[in-house]
Symmetry: C2
Amino acid sequence: MATRTAAERRLEAKADYDAYLASCPSRQLLATLSDKWVTLVVCALGERDHRYSELSTRLAGVSQKMLTQTLRSLERDGLVDRAVTASVPPRVDYSLTALGRSLLDPIQHVKAWAELNMPAVDQARARYDRVSA
Amino acid sequence: MATRTAAERRLEAKADYDAYLASCPSRQLLATLSDKWVTLVVCALGERDHRYSELSTRLAGVSQKMLTQTLRSLERDGLVDRAVTASVPPRVDYSLTALGRSLLDPIQHVKAWAELNMPAVDQARARYDRVSA
DNA sequence: CTGGATCCTCCATGATACTG
DNA sequence: CAGTATCATGGAGGATCCAG
């Protein structure tokens, strides 16, 4: 017991890390927003409302699990509204809440930046790769 | 060979997914930006230049590996500049490039959104958890 | 001080099967 | 149609050691 085990040190470090996060609560939310599917879903719903299957098609490559998981998370955070129509077959429509729409603007700026600067980044990468090759 | 194997279907789906990405190149860059450490590093360097060890301290909880990996990625993408001072002990300063600074504004808007709406999201979560409990 | 290299763990994610 | 449940795994990411 004289020295700490790796597990103990890990826990301790984690506690420090959490404390750091606690002092800046937005970090957690930022981490949530820093999710591939979150960005795509919010952008898609920003264009228009989507049914589950529409989102599934739109975000080609997303698994059911991740789509559902992402939607649940966004619904829980109050960014997305889930409207169930009890019919046969069942129908579920997703839309942005007012809070979700307020996120749309900032997120689209980042998206716009990515689109605008993709060429510059590509050049930078080519340059970097050429030098270190 | 009449039917596709799971592996083949997976490949095919992946190809479709890549094609989708290709039609919207910014997706890849967006994915890069949608990284926890990327956001934190850019924000930190947006405030002021940092040495490697300063970043390591600032982003409490980040491992050497992830910090280095993130910095290399940002350097390669032309967002961050790496200035080595050949001395003993060695000193490496990181700063944002012009391109990196241009990203700062959009990213900080998202950050500001997160800070502003953290309470609303918290309330939404509490409500959601209460109902489904 | 600033990392490079290595090993290893575990979790996010995908595949698959099943249901109201 | 819109999921849920379960299992499997690849790779992100952390721990550790070492070097310039």
